[in-house]
C-alpha cells in the first residue's frame, strides 16, 4: 500500500463528512421548524423571539450560520439540544457507544454464521445443503427488521417467556441481564446480514473454485480439502471484507429500527426522537456521526484489504 493511497482515502473521509454536513445543514434549514419558537414555546412574544434569534445567529445569512456551525463542530462542539437544553456531544457519544456494542455483536454473530453457511453452500453446489442455504438467504433478505423483531418478541418473549421483551441494561451493572436483553436485538439485526453475506461468500467461492489455479492445484495431486483450505478460502474470503464494510450502511439503518422497537437508548433512538421533535442540532450531529462511523469502517476495511491482498498496486 502506497502512502498515496492512504492519503487519498483519508482525504475521502473528510470530503465525505464535508458533503454530509452540507446535506444535513441544507435539510435542517428547509425543515419548517423555527429553533426560537421551539425554545420559547408557541406563545412567546415576537420581540422575545427576535431577540433570541439575534443571539442564536438565526438572522444571519445561511452560509454564515453554516460557517459558525462547522467551526464549532471542528472544535468538538456539537451545540445544545433544543429539546433538553443539554449539550449534545456527551449524550450522543454515550448513545453511540451502546449502538456500537449492538453493531459489533451483530457483525460478530453474522460472521460466525454467514461464512460457514456460504462455504457449505459453495462446496455442496446444487445439492440439498446449497438449496437450504439459499432458501434461508432468500427468506432472510425479504424480512424487514421490524417484522422479524415483532415476531421474535411475540414468540420468544411473550409466549415462551425465555427472554425479556424490550429494554436495555448496561453490561457494567448487570452483565447477564445485559446479555439477555441484547440477544433478541442482535439476532434481529443479523438476519438480513447473514442472508446477504452468506450469499456473497457462496458466489465468491464458487467463482474461485472455477479458476485455473484451483484446477492446477488439483492436478498437482492436492486433495480437495487442502485445495479448499489453502488455495480457495483465502481468496474467496478477502472480498468479504469489502462486502461487510458496505453492509455497515444497511446495518446502521437496522440499528435505528431495532433500537426503536427494543427501546435501546442508542444513537438510532436519539435520532428518531430528535426527528419527531424536530430537534435540529441533534439531527445534524446524529447524521454526521452515523456517516462518520460508516466512512471510518470503510476506511479500515480498505486498509485491511490493501494489506492482506498484496496483488493490487494502489496508486
Amino acid at each position: 500500500m502506497s502512502p498515496n493511497y492512504l492519503l487519498k482515502r483519508l482525504l475521502m473521509i473528510f470530503y465525505t463528512l464535508f458533503v454530509v454536513s452540507l446535506i444535513v445543514f441544507a435539510i435542517t434549514q428547509v425543515l419548517p421548524a423555527d429553533a426560537a419558537v421551539m425554545m420559547l414555546g408557541e406563545h412567546a412574544t415576537p420581540e422575545a423571539l427576535d431577540a433570541l434569534r439575534q443571539t442564536m445567529g438565526l438572522n444571519a445569512p445561511v452560509w454564515v450560520q453554516y460557517g459558525h456551525w462547522l467551526w464549532a463542530l471542528l472544535q468538538g462542539d456539537f451545540g445544545t439540544s433544543l429539546r433538553t437544553g443539554q449539550p449534545i456531544g456527551p449524550a450522543m457519544f454515550s448513545a453511540l457507544g451502546r449502538s456500537l456494542l449492538l453493531a459489533f455483536l451483530s457483525i460478530g454473530l453474522m460472521l460466525i454464521l454467514a461464512i460457514p453457511l456460504g462455504i457449505i453452500a459453495a462446496i455442496r453446489r446444487g445439492k440439498v445443503a446449497d438449496i437450504v442455504v439459499s432458501l434461508i438467504s432468500y427468506l432472510g433478505v425479504a424480512l424487514p427488521e421490524f417484522v422479524t423483531a415483532t415476531v421474535a418478541v411475540l414468540l420468544l418473549a411473550d409466549w415462551l417467556k425465555w427472554l425479556p421483551p424490550t429494554g436495555y441494561v448496561s453490561p457494567t451493572e448487570d452483565f447477564f441481564g445485559a446479555i439477555a436483553h441484547l440477544i433478541l436485538p442482535v439476532c434481529v439485526i443479523s438476519v438480513i446480514l447473514i442472508a446477504h453475506v452468506s450469499r456473497m461468500v457462496r458466489s465468491e467461492l464458487v467463482d474461485v473454485l472455477h479458476t485455473d489455479y484451483i484446477r492446477a492445484a488439483r492436478l498437482k495431486g492436492m486433495s480437495r480439502g487442502t485445495v479448499l483450505r489453502r488455495h480457495a478460502l483465502r481468496n474467496a474470503l478477502l472480498p468479504t471484507i469489502t462486502i461487510v464494510a458496505l453492509d455497515v450502511g444497511y446495518l446502521l439503518g437496522g440499528v435505528i429500527v431495532v433500537e426503536e422497537i427494543f427501546a435501546i437508548p442508542g444513537i438510532g433512538r436519539e435520532l428518531i426522537v430528535a426527528i419527531q421533535a424536530r430537534d435540529l442540532p441533534v439531527i445534524q450531529a446524529g447524521v454526521l456521526i452515523m456517516a462518520a462511523t460508516y466512512s471510518i469502517v470503510n476506511f479500515i476495511a480498505d486498509m485491511l484489504y490493501a494489506v492482506l491482498d498484496k496483488r493490487i498496486q494502489y496508486d
Binding site: 475521502m12 425479504a142 417484522v147 415483532t150 450502511g249 439503518g253 447524521v287
Partner: protein
C-alpha cells in the same frame, strides 16, 4: 420475447419469481375488486376472529377483514415501491452515465460525492426527507427514490464504463459517430440489461423500506391498509391475536422474495453467455 420468457423460466428463481411477481401485480390491479369485505368497515362484535369462510385470514383489532385489507394494501406498498425504484433508477442512471461519459476529474468528483451521500444509511436518509416534506405516501415515495439514486448511479457508472471500453464502442468512435449516437445506440442497449436486474432486486428493498417507514409512523397514515402500517398497529394487540401481525408480515415477505427471485432469474436470462 417468447425466447426470452423461455430462458427466464429455465431457472427455478426465474420461474418462481415471475409467478410471484405476476400474482402480486394481479392483486395490485384486481385486489379491490376481489376483496370479499369492506376493508375499512369496523365491526366491534367481530374483533380478533380466527380465519373462517367469511374472514379468510380472520379479523383485526377493529373487526376489519385482514384478507381484504391485504388485497387493498398491495397497491399502497407495491405500487409505491415500484414507482420509487423506477424514479430512483432513472435519476441514478442519468448521474452514472453522465459521470462515466465525462470521465477524468469530473467523473471522480461526481463519484466521490455519490460515495459521500451513500454514507448516510438509506433508511435515515428517507426518514430525514419524509420529515422535511411531511409524512405522507407521496413524500415517502420521493424519499425512497432519492435514497436509491446514489447506489444506482454507482452501478450504472461501472456498467457504462465497462461497455465504453468495448471495441464496438471504439469502432463507432473511429468511424466518427456522434456522441449521442454512441450513447444511445451502441452503449444504452448493453447498459440497460444489468440495470434492470439491479432495479428488480431493489424493488424488494423498496417494499421493505416503505413498510419500515410506515411502521415508524412516517409513511402511510391510519386507517390506510398499508402492510407495514398494519404490522405496526398490530403490535399492541399481538397478544390477543397473532394473525393480525403474521399475515401482513407474510405479505411483505412474499412480495419482497418474489422481486428478489425475479431479479436473479433475469440476471441469468439476460446474460448472453449462458
Amino acid at each position: 420475447m417468447i425466447e426470452f420468457l423461455k430462458r427466464l423460466l429455465r431457472t427455478p428463481q426465474g420461474a418462481i419469481g415471475l409467478f410471484v411477481v405476476v400474482l402480486v401485480l394481479l392483486i395490485v390491479i384486481f385486489g379491490p375488486m376481489l376483496a370479499p369485505n369492506d376493508p375499512e368497515k369496523m365491526a366491534p362484535l367481530a374483533r380478533y376472529k380466527a380465519p373462517s369462510l367469511t374472514y379468510l385470514l380472520g379479523t383485526d383489532q377493529y373487526g376489519r377483514d385482514i384478507f381484504s385489507r391485504l388485497l387493498i394494501g398491495a397497491r399502497a406498498t407495491v405500487v409505491m415501491a415500484v414507482l420509487a425504484t423506477i424514479i430512483g433508477t432513472l435519476v441514478g442512471a442519468l448521474i452514472g452515465t453522465t459521470s462515466a461519459f465525462l470521465g477524468g476529474r469530473a467523473d471522480e468528483f461526481i463519484m466521490r460525492t455519490v460515495d459521500a451521500v451513500m454514507s448516510i444509511p438509506s433508511l435515515l436518509f428517507a426518514l430525514l426527507v419524509v420529515n422535511l416534506l411531511g409524512s405522507s405516501t407521496v413524500n415517502a415515495l420521493v424519499a425512497v427514490a432519492i435514497a436509491f439514486a446514489p447506489g444506482m448511479a454507482r452501478i450504472t457508472r461501472s456498467v457504462a464504463l465497462s461497455v465504453r471500453k468495448q471495441d464496438y464502442v471504439n469502432a463507432a468512435m473511429a468511424r466518427g459517430e456522434s456522441s449521442a449516437f454512441i450513447i444511445r445506440r451502441e452503449m444504452l442497449p448493453n447498459v440497460v440489461a444489468p440495470i434492470i436486474v439491479e432495479m428488480t432486486i431493489r424493488i424488494s428493498f423498496a417494499i421493505m423500506l416503505f413498510a419500515t417507514l410506515s411502521f415508524l409512523g412516517l409513511g402511510a397514515q391510519p386507517p390506510a391498509a398499508e402492510w407495514g402500517l398494519m404490522v405496526s398497529e398490530a403490535r399492541r394487540y399481538m397478544h390477543l391475536s397473532a394473525g393480525i401481525l403474521i399475515w401482513p408480515s407474510v405479505a411483505i415477505a412474499i412480495a419482497s422474495i418474489g422481486f428478489n427471485l425475479l431479479g436473479d432469474g433475469l440476471r441469468d436470462a439476460l446474460n448472453p453467455r449462458t
